[in-house]
């Protein structure tokens, strides 16, 4: 029973990971960019929510009307000033540029807000601790369920947006062949700006989720980035449903690991990630061996 509960908690946790991985995976699939400042942007959004609630008395339920547009605008600036410029010089430069950017953001947050850990929980009333009792003694937090549903909704919504709308199709086409979309009347720069803005809104949602379910501090972006990466890569970068699956895998691995030992939480997550990564690259080798084998067998018969 304890295992079932752990796995259930892992699934709910995985929902959060899918949420934080969503923007990263989206930007990688749309622009082929590895954005190392992803976690830092999530923290920036979380602090945005916190500051609005603390200083202006606007709870996150209202605060999003300011945070989302602000983050989207930041996305426009990010695309125009950093990503577009660095993406032209290969893989390495965007990685280094966003790395530098993340150091700036983290420390600016520290400069502004100090080392204290914060949480959005005080601003959302009962929601932060309310729960449903599923069975005798088995409780499930309402917030965790809502976050999970938000992840499914967001990933599903993005998937629908990408496959059903003209802008979504244009974003996918631009990801495949930036030069050719121009021939069809699509301004690739504008599309990439839209895509970055969307990614930044999803990052804001993830930042809000983190802030409500746990505590955060200016340097909390880095571990979030790692979790996002793990979820995205386990699920296969570039596939949104894969990202959900990757988030769930990571969440379950961590939950089960935590049950084994206190340190097992992180170790199991990292180990699962590496095993999946190595197994996937080894599949080619296995396929090779199989091909040679079947080649020999057909020759021999």
């Amino acid at each position: 029973m304890i295992w079932v509960e752990q796995i259930f908690q892992g699934i709910l946790l995985g929902g959060y990971y899918a949420l934080i991985a969503c923007g990263l995976s989206f930007m990688f699939s749309v622009m082929g960019l590895v954005n190392l400042a992803h976690g830092s942007f999530a923290m920036l959004a979380a602090f945005g929510f916190w500051a609005l609630a603390e200083y202006a008395g606007l709870p996150p339920t209202i605060g999003w009307t300011a945070v989302f547009p602000a983050m989207a605008l930041l996305g426009v600036a990010l695309q125009r000033l950093v990503l577009d410029r660095s993406a032209r010089s290969g893989f390495l430069i965007p990685v280094l540029a966003t790395f530098g950017l993340s150091i700036c953001i983290d420390n600016l947050l520290f400069q502004q807000f100090g080392a204290d850990t914060r949480s959005l929980a005080p601003f959302i009333g009962d929601l932060s601790y309310d729960s449903w009792e599923l069975a005798d003694g088995v409780f499930v937090g309402k917030l965790a369920v809502y976050i999970f549903l938000a992840a499914v909704g967001l990933l599903g919504g993005l998937q629908l947006f990408l496959s059903r709308t003209q802008l979504g199709r244009a974003i996918r086409a631009t990801a495949i062949d930036r030069d050719t979309v121009g021939l069809l009347g699509i301004d690739a720069n504008w599309i990439n700006i839209c895509a970055t803005a969307i990614a930044m809104v999803t990052v804001s949602i993830a930042g809000a989720a983190l802030g409500m379910r746990a505590t955060f501090d200016p340097y909390a972006g880095t571990p979030q980035l790692i979790f996002a990466f793990e979820a995205a890569v386990i699920g296969g970068t570039g596939s949104l449903w894969g990202t959900l699956l990757g988030g769930l895998t990571l969440g379950i691995a961590q939950s089960v690991g935590a049950q084994i030992s206190p340190q097992g939480f992180l170790i199991a997550g990292h180990a699962t990630f590496l095993v999946v990564l190595v197994a996937r690259t080894s599949l080619d080798r296995i396929a090779d061996v199989w091909r040679i084998f079947s080649f020999v067998r057909t020759k021999a018969s």
């Binding site: 040679i292 020999v296 020759k299």
Partner: protein, 263 residues
Amino acid sequence: MLGTVESGEGRLPGPQIGAAHTEGIVLSAEGIVKRFGALTVLDNVAFALSRGEAVGVVGPNGAGKTTLLSVLMGALEPTAGSVHYLGQNVTRLPAAERCRVGIARTHQVPKSFSGMTVFENALVAAQHGGGHRASEAYDRVVETLRLTGMLRVANRRAETLGLLDRKRLELARAVATDPKVLLLDEIGGGLTDGEAGELVSTIKVLRERGIALVWIEHIVHVLVQVTERLVCLDSGKIVADGKPRDVMKHPDVVRAYLGSAVG
């Protein structure tokens, strides 16, 4: 090194290519199929190159010529079929190892080591592909650069070269690996008559040394000065193979190249 690659072809009973026939063959491909997704670029291509022979490859754009070269070199693995070099199956041997045993290529779009000098570009090839050490490698490089007319720019960084010199550098680098088989991909495009003449005499020297050649080129009149055999590829199939004069008159070649209404 080569022995570890094959998985038992030699032990198979039944009618194989006769020993007398394979004797002089240095490089051969059988039943090569290459697909990229739904697109079949090479469709059951068979091809054999004798020792010291020079073969020109012609055919319209998209016929699969460069893909064939990449399969022979090992840069691409065929979907089906096999490549043999000096009697050994090298189908699964990666490009670097094939180069070390004596197959070298040039790239259609020059891929120079841009931050290194011309001398250093060729030196990498002589040291790694050719297996030469120290001063022996230097001698090899100097000789190769002289032969390809690149000695005059030996100390220039490759990124400062013009397109024609970059193509020459492709040739120099391939030659510096001491190949037995040289695969050339459109190294003559855009040359003036004088330059084409120089290229032809360079290639003739290589032939005198016993290097076998496969040369893709669209400028047929340059090609025929060096090769005694032409292969025409169209839509991934070999449509003609023989003496240049016969191949260029072959109805399928005329159709493939110019369309059926002409000639």
